[in-house]
């Protein structure tokens, strides 16, 4: 899985939050994010932590172009996202890894990967520990850990500079969670991706390069 050296620019900002404020339409006075600014660089793995309901997933959805802020802006590669550019942003700049894997159940692992990339699926799956035999089975026949590996392979297969992970190890046992965490670290360090993981996992937090805590609508760097 050799990447273009262009993408291996550790330190280049993949995504930025610029004075972003967010509130639900139903409760406009309650600011989930309040003037948050942060830069997420390529080649770095970030862990965003905080108590449940503090707005971690909202922050991830803003970074991924799944939602829009009340004020401020989100930028990708230095360029702010317009409302009309969100779909393109999702298609070109980011890839998601979710707690529930979100694989298409009538497709094989190889076909799931092929949804996101034109690269050959089997080498990508082998890289995350899925055999060629398993790559052709139904995804429903795979274990939770294997399914999450397929989801990561699908994310890695895309050209996205940022992997946005929402509780990627939340449904997995300890050993499997550790293996998945390793894959994400490698994605950041070996492939130069910007990996942003919203997590409650101490192991994943421990292995992240930087840890950001979301507290009362503000993002505070812990490490």
């Amino acid at each position: 899985m050799e990447k273009n050296p262009e993408t291996l620019r550790r330190g280049a900002p993949a995504l930025e939050l610029r004075d972003v404020t967010y509130a639900y339409a139903s409760r406009p006075r309650l600011k989930i994010l309040n003037g948050v600014s942060a830069s997420f660089e390529e080649g770095v793995m970030y862990a965003i932590v905080g108590p449940s309901g503090c707005g971690k997933s909202t922050l991830l959805s803003l970074l991924g172009g799944l939602d829009v802020s009340v004020s401020g802006e989100v930028a990708a590669g230095g360029a702010p996202l317009g409302r009309g550019g969100l779909a393109r942003h999702r298609r070109e700049n980011v890839a998601f890894v979710f707690q529930g894997y979100n694989l298409v159940d009538y497709l094989t692992p190889a076909e799931n990967v092929a949804l996101a990339t034109r690269l050959p699926a089997l080498p990508l799956l082998e890289k995350v520990g899925i055999s060629a035999e398993d790559a052709r089975r139904s995804v429903l026949a795979l274990s939770g850990g294997q399914q999450q590996r397929v989801a990561i392979a699908r994310a890695l297969g895309s050209d996205a500079r940022a992997l946005l992970c929402d509780e990627p190890t939340g449904s997995l046992d300890e050993d499997t969670a550790e293996e998945i965490a390793g894959l994400l670290v490698r994605a950041a360090h070996e492939e130069g991706r910007c990996v942003v993981a919203v997590t409650h996992s101490r192991d994943l937090t421990r292995r992240a390069d930087r840890v950001l805590r979301l507290k009362r609508g503000r993002l505070v760097r812990e490490r």
């Binding site: 999702r90 298609r91 895309s158």
Partner: protein
């Protein structure tokens, strides 16, 4: 991965859902196609009935008003004749040219004559009637009256009741018109029995008893005729005298009959029968005819009996309405059920839609996949429905049209073509042969699933299916990124 490939993979791997959709579309298609085909057959049957029973009306002297009639002595006896202006070929022309919707008409007057060789040296051989002679024949045993045949003087044989209604068919030569002179039409069997061909001549004369009653020499009534055409009866006929059957009938001009029976041309035709394009127009047409100067207040009766058409058409029209309602209901219910099923499927696949959208696929690609799946299944279901519908339509059509046909057989009036005993009198002449008619033949229709119906099924069916998918996909197309996220969490 292009959406058609995703659609194929879904259909292949979600076999249960695919087969359920296939079955639903198949049932709806069979229902729609079957009822549509039966409807077409019912309409064809109606058209056949209308054409077969004919839109006709007659004009004849009003026999119920004694003031129109007078008695005159002829030879040793007397005869009652109409006192008004005679019905002539000019009158027929005036009606045909002056009243919209009248296809044509023919005056008709008949009498009995004896066919013989040209010089009268020998009688021509007659076709034996299948049912033998009645008491009428016995009364004239030993007299040449038993060799009489019906001679019909017509102004245009093509529009004469027998020919226009299909009981007789001209198979050779030309029809008789007022300009045919000594031309006559004879049956093929009569012609073959006597070695006659088109162009050959023979003669006709009155029966001796008639000549004696008129006080004239029978030889003075002899007139030479020329075979102008040959006809064949299309149905079995029966007459009071076997020699009066249609196989021995001769059709000629009024001038020929006038030569044999002087005064016929002066008195004109007994009646004129007009054929109209559509029986439904008869009311208007007869109203206009009654208003013509040639008829108004001159003692003529214009009558159009539509009871047979009405009686025969009613059960078919009822069936047409029933089947049309069934077709409309099956399409409407099918469309609603299809929408409900497809919207349920799209709702069930909202999560999948969210996954695909989060991967950067466009909404058009996602909806295109669903559209592709449904249209592929619909195309297969419709293709399977065609032979199934043919079978169902023929079976159901036979049953329904058979039932309607029974009503046709028993529901006919008593003065027209189709009667309860299946006998037709065709013309108003009481001595005219009667025909056995087959009411079922009007509705003996092959119920076919035609290419038009199949094209309509594919056109409308695929459009309804596509519409249902697009409608069911509305929530997906309106779904914002936040909703996508919520489907994934």
């Amino acid at each position: 991965m292009p959406f058609p490939r995703r659609a194929l993979l879904y259909l292949a791997r979600k076999r249960g859902k695919t087969l359920t959709l296939l079955a639903l579309l198949f049932v709806v298609a069979v229902l729609a196609l079957t009822s549509w085909s039966i409807r077409g057959a019912a309409q064809t049957a109606q058209l056949n009935v209308r054409q077969a029973l004919g839109g006709t009306f007659t004009v004849e002297p009003d026999s119920s008003n004694a003031a129109n009639w007078g008695s005159s002595s002829v030879g040793t006896g007397s005869q009652i004749t109409f006192q008004g202006e005679p019905l002539t070929a000019d009158f027929v022309r005036e009606v045909v040219e002056g009243v919209d919707g009248v296809r044509g008409g023919s005056g008709s007057v008949s009498n009995v004559l004896i066919p013989e060789t040209t010089d009268g040296s020998a009688a021509l051989e007659l076709v034996e009637g299948a049912d033998g002679d009645s008491s009428l024949a016995a009364a004239f045993a030993g007299d040449d009256f038993g060799r009489t045949v019906q001679f019909y003087a017509v102004s245009d044989s093509a529009f004469d009741s027998y020919f226009a209604n299909g009981y007789l068919k001209l198979v050779e030569g030309e029809p008789i018109t007022e300009d045919s002179g000594d031309g006559v039409l004879v049956s093929r069997e009569f012609a073959e029995k006597n070695g006659l061909a088109v162009g050959d001549e023979f003669s006709v004369r009155r029966a001796t008893v008639h000549a004696q009653m008129a006080g004239i020499d029978v030889e003075d009534t002899r007139t030479r005729v020329r075979v102008a055409g040959v006809f064949e009866p299309t149905a079995k006929s029966q007459a009071d005298l076997s020699s009066w059957s249609m196989d021995n009938a001769i059709f000629g001009t009024i001038s020929t009959l006038d030569h044999a029976r002087e005064g016929t041309a002066e008195q004109g035709y007994d009646r004129v029968t007009f054929q109209v394009d559509d029986p439904a127009e008869l009311g208007r047409i007869t109203g206009e005819v009654e208003g013509l100067d040639a008829l108004a207040g001159k003692g003529y009766l214009v009558s159009a009996d539509t009871s047979d058409v009405d009686a025969v058409s009613a059960p078919l029209e009822n069936m047409d309405r029933l089947v049309t309602a069934l077709a409309a209901a099956s399409v409407a219910v099918g469309a609603v059920v299809l929408y409900l099923v497809l919207s349920g499927r799209v709702r069930d696949r909202l999560h999948e839609s969210g996954v695909l959208l989060s991967l950067g696929l466009t909404r058009a690609s996602v909806v295109g996949q669903y559209l592709c799946e449904v249209l592929l299944v619909a195309a297969v279901a419709f293709a399977l429905a065609v032979p199934a519908s043919s079978l169902a339509a023929q079976t159901m059509g036979d049953a329904l049209l058979g039932s309607a046909s029974e009503s046709v057989q028993t529901g006919g009036g008593d003065g027209g073509v189709s009667t309860a005993d299946g006998v037709s009198t065709v013309s108003g002449d009481p001595f005219a042969p009667t025909f056995e008619v087959d009411g079922a033949s009007f509705t003996d229709i092959e119920v076919e699933v035609g290419p038009g119906s199949v094209a309509a099924l594919f056109g409308v069916g695929l459009a309804v299916s596509a519409g249902a998918v697009l409608l069911a996909s509305l929530p997906l197309r309106r779904m914002g990124p936040r909703e996508i996220l919520s489907t994934l969490s």
